[in-house]
Symmetry: C2
Amino acid sequence: MSTDTSSTPAPAPPSAILETCLSVSDLTRSRAFYEEIFGYSAMVAEERLCAFNVGGTQVLILFSREEVANPVHLPFGTIPAHGAHGESHVGFRVAAESLELWRARLEEKGIAIESTLTWPLGGTSMYFRDPDGHLLELLTPGVWPIY
Amino acid sequence: MSTDTSSTPAPAPPSAILETCLSVSDLTRSRAFYEEIFGYSAMVAEERLCAFNVGGTQVLILFSREEVANPVHLPFGTIPAHGAHGESHVGFRVAAESLELWRARLEEKGIAIESTLTWPLGGTSMYFRDPDGHLLELLTPGVWPIY
């Protein structure tokens, strides 16, 4: 880590990632996918985005790529433009004992499991794609030192 | 939400997003940015990625876009290809009382604050960019109903 030569007091590192986001081409299609496959409920849904409550402490936001390519002017301020192309990657925590249920669920829905691997710490990663090709991963404990 | 007509038992929705990822063009530059600005420490750092421990329960992963554009073959399995271009978006949780420290820190480091807005629920969002132009947001409580 670099030496901190700042003259202002350092704020504490952000304690959590609250918003994890994916740019999607068809919001209706992607919302249906995350509801059907993951069982998430939309907390906020509008033309520009769909936000899911994840575990009561995190938000997964699907952004319509087209709608956020320009700044969004709200009555109380402006959200800067953003939007990604290509295949982003997000990893979701699941219980080890649920992994076979997930495998059956994905197979039943016709979603190809692209790879499954077991890490040196004992955890398993199962990879598949969302409708935009974003790489999704289900992780059981024992992939990272902290989990 | 769509009606579930599955014949297999539904696994519980993933309880958390464990891995939030950004594709970057220069891993060394981006690692230094997140260490210096956010105060995060690298938990794992290699040619392909740099992973930060966020709050003991989440991982922020910077991926070298070039290194993950093809599948990665490890002794115990294969990680599928991924990688995004453009401006992704990630939102970090910070305490309301730290917001002015953050403003001072960003200004001292020469990082432009692109927008600041206060939401109807009372929370504040402060937006700026990382070296790849990814849109970063610091959020105080009162942006989403769950936080």
